[in-house]
């Protein structure tokens, strides 16, 4: 019996021109989404390479200057000397010997590589900078740049696979199933079918199976196609796990909409009413609730203005300049081990600037941390209210799976902060001791290499969204099938 109904339903679906058209449109949308999102991914990578390469070329040129100088010194039998800043070129040791100059005037870019699934969900990757310029600037200045993109397009949001899945897929599902029972009832075929030895629940289940099969086939094709199209390596364990999670989340999300359609059908209203109720639910869950949750989170925990800490940073800067010797003393105090022999504290422009920057960082850091704490509170609010809408749960899951959400970015930024400290330590030590840099030192300049977060961490972040989605689906399905028991087949 099952097989008969499933076969029949599948044939009916395939013969419904409107559905076939919607499906074709959906496929076109996924192809377009994967392609346009992969452009964004490529654009970000190109940005990192361009500016990272440029800064590296500056250091390479400095290294070449230094090599020339070393050869000259070696030939003349002298010793390498440290160049003060702004030494006129052509005479004496080159700038390249000055660790402070090299560390401040060139930056190393800490780059966050995209995951293989990045094109499935653009997430925040169009606004979060994926390559952070690290140099001697203080930590607040290092993190202040944003990726640039036409703000008009940022407002509209990217056309990616996540958009197709979250926004468009439910429409397709609801179009297939808004009249699951109501149409049979309206045509009068429902009573006839149920005259056969099959329960309403089983009849419904078999109708669902045919639709699910279509849906899962589509989802599988989407994911594989999108990853393959964007050049993802399917042999990689990380990619495979992420892809599996993506399938799981997408199927769950689809199930939510099927279950909702069954629930609405079980109320026994006509097709037109069912259609309106389901369209309204779509609007509610996909558009209204997410924007309201967003409003709630940003109203309860508005990000404190960056204006405040800009003003505070300048106050600190002025203060440090007024008390410049004190700032310098403090700077040396913080680097006691590096005070030159005989306490010959240099007070040149660059040292003062660095002492200043350190003073500003100290003054601003508490504000910065409070700022971050507020953002965390905002995120926690969204996490709490995500269960109000499967679309929010799905968005969070998609971003985490694609590695374009806030979690992976925070993981990256932690490494950037560590790298920033390593960079500062490396150059500050040589600079304060007035040790000339050598070409060998250039090879020891800290390099950034991103360590991918463990899949366990990804799963940990995903768990609330996925479990939430699972529970909602389970609850809805139970309620829907319970509702079927009270369904009036005739009259």
């Amino acid at each position: 019996m099952y097989a008969t109904i499933v076969g029949h339903e599948t044939r009916v679906l395939a013969k419904t021109p409107a559905l076939v058209w919607v499906l074709l449109l959906l496929i076109a949308a996924v192809v377009f989404g994967a392609w346009s999102a992969s452009n964004t991914v490529a654009r970000n990578s190109a940005g990192g390479q361009a500016i990272g390469g440029y800064e590296q070329s500056l250091r390479d040129r400095m290294r070449a200057d230094l090599a020339k100088y070393e050869a000259k010194v070696k030939a003349s039998g002298g010793t390498l000397e440290f160049a003060a800043v702004n030494h006129a070129p052509g005479e004496g040791p080159p700038q390249a010997t000055n660790a402070g100059a090299v560390g401040s005037e060139t930056a190393a870019y800490a780059v966050l590589p995209p995951t293989a699934l990045a094109a499935l969900s653009i997430g925040q990757s169009d606004i979060n900078l994926a390559y952070i310029p690290v140099n001697m600037r203080n930590v607040v200045d290092v993190t202040k740049e944003n990726e640039i993109e036409n703000p008009v397009n940022l407002k509209t949001g990217g056309f990616d696979v996540a958009f197709v899945v979250i926004f468009l897929m439910p429409i397709f599902i609801l179009a297939m199933s808004y009249d699951l029972l109501s149409s049979e009832k309206e045509r009068g075929t429902l009573a006839m079918v149920l005259a056969h030895p099959i329960s309403l629940a089983k009849f419904m289940a078999s109708k669902l199976i045919s639709r699910l099969v279509v849906m899962i086939a589509v989802v599988l094709a989407f994911g594989l196609g999108a990853v393959a199209a964007t050049g993802g390596d399917l042999a990689n364990a990380d990619t495979l796990v992420r892809l599996a999670l993506w399938f799981g989340a997408t199927v769950l999300y689809c199930l939510f909409w099927f279950a909702l359609a069954v629930l609405v059908n079980a109320r026994g209203a006509g097709s037109a009413t069912n259609g309106i109720v389901l369209a309204g639910s779509w609007l509610l869950f996909v558009v209204v609730v997410p924007t309201l949750v967003s409003l709630l989170a940003t109203t309860l925990y508005p990000a404190p203005s960056r204006f405040d800490f800009t003003t505070a940073a300048r106050e600190a800067q002025t203060k440090a300049e007024f008390e410049r010797m004190q700032a310098l003393d403090q700077y040396y105090y913080d680097h006691l081990e590096l005070v030159p022999d005989g306490d010959k504290k240099a007070n040149d422009f660059l040292t003062l600037a660095m002492a200043n920057s350190a003073a500003v960082e100290k003054a601003v850091l508490p504000l910065y941390q409070r700022f971050q704490a507020q953002l965390d509170a905002q995120e926690a609010t969204v996490a709490r209210f995500q269960y109000l809408s499967p679309a929010i749960m799905m968005q969070r899951a998609m971003n985490d799976i694609a590695g374009t959400g806030p979690g992976r970015y925070a993981h990256f930024m932690d490494q950037v902060f560590a790298f920033h400290r390593a960079w500062q330590e490396f150059f500050t030590a040589k600079f304060l001791k007035r040790e000339p840099l050598t070409t060998a030192d250039y090879d020891r300049i800290p390099r950034f290499s991103y360590a991918e977060e463990s899949l366990g961490a990804v799963l940990g972040r995903l768990a609330p969204s996925l479990i939430g989605l699972l529970l909602v689906v389970a609850g809805l399905t139970t309620a829907a099938f319970a509702g079927l028991r009270r369904y009036r087949v005739a009259g």
Binding site: A46, G47, I148, L168, I171
Partner: protein, 492 residues
């Protein structure tokens, strides 16, 4: 004469009767009450929170700008060029109607550091400090009218003709002597009036807020509100006429609903994203890294292929010839200041080239999206609405350009002062330590302030889009009248 025409009993207007009937019937419909209540509630929430944000931001911005201008003056005695390095910050003003439409404000920086040697991008983009959930879109007056108002109109009107036809009352109605055109106008008036009721709270709050706004600060506010009202009115009418036309032409109400909701979903969700992607494809814009790398390279190698160092050498040689001296240190101005200023000026050309081309690309993308409005009227409406609310690219560019002009003025005045005041220090080593300036000198740079573009500039930019919107209105009206002349009286 006027008296006479007033006293003469006017013939019963069929349009009025139909309109009254539609209006009353809609108001009595429970579904209307619910939808209208939800819509009104959302509008009130959106406008209230928008106003609260706007007011808080405007206050913060004014305070921060004041503080920053004072900090510039009170930065302490130092070399004027060091003062230019200390610089000043430009804080972006909120659009005068951004409480209604925050436009691109979450996605543009609102803080711009003006310092010697560098033209910076505006930083501190609110979206970077917000949860990813905000990418679902912001709920504000504009988005509700753009997204939900058409849906409300569709719900109210999809059965206007199709429903009566199904119930068999359409033929009956025509037998009363009403003309097809009158019927269309009557229904439009009745349903449009009911839809207006749902938007009334928006109008009330909007008026209250406008009364609270300081109109003297923005004399063009009235014009902005007027054009906004016209644009949204046209947008609503487009959907009203399309809905009635489709309802008249298609057989069953269910079909009319599917077609209309399909067009709505395409129009407000699919079309904007597709248009954005198309515009990116046609006018690609660089990422930050590419933008910076190109600009830095051009600063060294020169846009015209003549390296900046060579240009500067030539300039100094010419100057030495002009003053007939054999060393730049013998020039009658402080050479380091002269040098810094000249290098700034070489950079200006490079900055202008790159920043202008970035701005032009963004503008070209937006204009293309407006033009794609031939497929979806929401596209030109969104653009014009942001423009009129003062939260669009045009207002952002005015801000960034004002900041850059101020930066150039600040650097030029500081270097200019230095080059005259420190002329005796030419050739003295570590001379920069001996030249300090005080608050009086810093005051030759005026405090940073700027005025947003006038409504005329906004209309010049968005006139085409608004024209397209009104063309849509004419087309929709034509379609409705065509449908009126063609609709069937009975279900086939």
């Amino acid at each position: 004469m006027a008296e006479a025409s007033l006293t003469r009993p006017s013939p019963p207007s069929m349009i009025g009767i139909v309109a009254r009937k539609e209006f009353t019937e809609t108001l009595r419909d429970g579904r209307f009450k619910w939808t209208a209540a939800i819509m009104a509630l959302l509008l009130l929430t959106a406008l209230a929170s928008g106003w609260q944000r706007y007011a808080a931001y405007a206050e913060m911005q004014a305070a921060a700008q004041g503080t920053s201008n004072t900090q510039w003056l009170k930065q302490g005695d130092k070399n004027p060029h060091s003062a230019a390095h200390y610089g000043n910050y430009a804080f972006k003003q909120a659009g005068s109607l951004s409480f209604f439409d925050s436009g691109i404000e979450p996605y543009t920086g609102n803080l711009l550091f003006m310092e010697a040697h560098k033209q910076n991008l505006a930083i501190s983009r609110p979206a970077n400090d917000m949860s990813a959930v905000t990418r679902f879109g912001e709920i504000n007056g504009a988005t509700i009218l753009q997204i939900l108002m058409p849906l409300l109109i569709i719900f109210l009107g999809f059965a206007a003709f199709a429903g009566e036809r199904e119930r068999g009352t359409l033929r009956q109605l025509m037998s009363m002597g009403v003309s097809r055109q009158e019927l269309m106008w009557g229904k439009a008036l009745g349903i449009g009036g009911a839809a207006m009721l749902a938007i009334v709270p928006c109008l009330a709050v909007g008026t209250a807020v406008l009364a609270a706004l300081d109109v003297s600060a923005a004399p063009d506010l009235g014009a902005r509100v007027g054009v906004l009202a016209l644009a949204y009115g046209a947008y609503g009418l487009i959907f009203l006429f399309l809905t009635l036309g489709v309802s008249a032409l298609l057989g069953a109400p269910r079909n009319a609903l599917i077609v209309l909701v399909g067009f709505w979903a395409f129009s407000v969700f699919l079309a904007p994203k597709t248009a954005a992607e198309i515009s990116k494809l046609v006018h690609p814009s660089p990422s930050l890294g590419e933008f910076q790398a190109e600009m830095k390279a051009d600063q060294v190698r020169g846009l015209d292929g003549v390296p900046t160092a060579a240009k500067f050498g030539k300039y100094v040689r010419e100057l030495m010839a002009q003053y007939n001296v054999e060393s730049p240190m013998k020039l009658p101005m402080y050479f380091p200041a002269l040098r810094m200023q000249k290098l700034e000026e070489f950079d200006h050309v490079v900055f202008d080239h790159h920043y202008n081309s970035l701005r032009d690309t963004y503008m070209a993308q937006r204009r293309l999206q407006d033009a794609l409005g031939v497929f979806a009227p929401v596209l030109p409406l969104t653009s014009a609405s942001m423009g009129l609310a003062g939260s669009d690219l045009l207002h952002h560019d005015t801000y960034t350009q004002a900041a850059e002009s101020h930066r150039r003025l600040m650097v030029e005045r500081m270097n200019g002062y230095l080059s005259k005041a420190a002329v005796d220090l030419n050739g003295v080593s570590n001379s920069s330590n001996y030249m300090t300036a005080d608050e009086e000198v810093f005051a030759i740079v005026p405090p940073f302030a700027y005025a947003p573009p006038d409504v005329r500039a906004v209309l010049a930019e968005y006139g085409g889009g608004l024209g397209l919107l009104f063309a849509w209105l004419l087309a929709a009206l034509g379609f409705a009248l065509f449908a009126a002349s063609r609709f069937r009286l009975d279900v086939r």
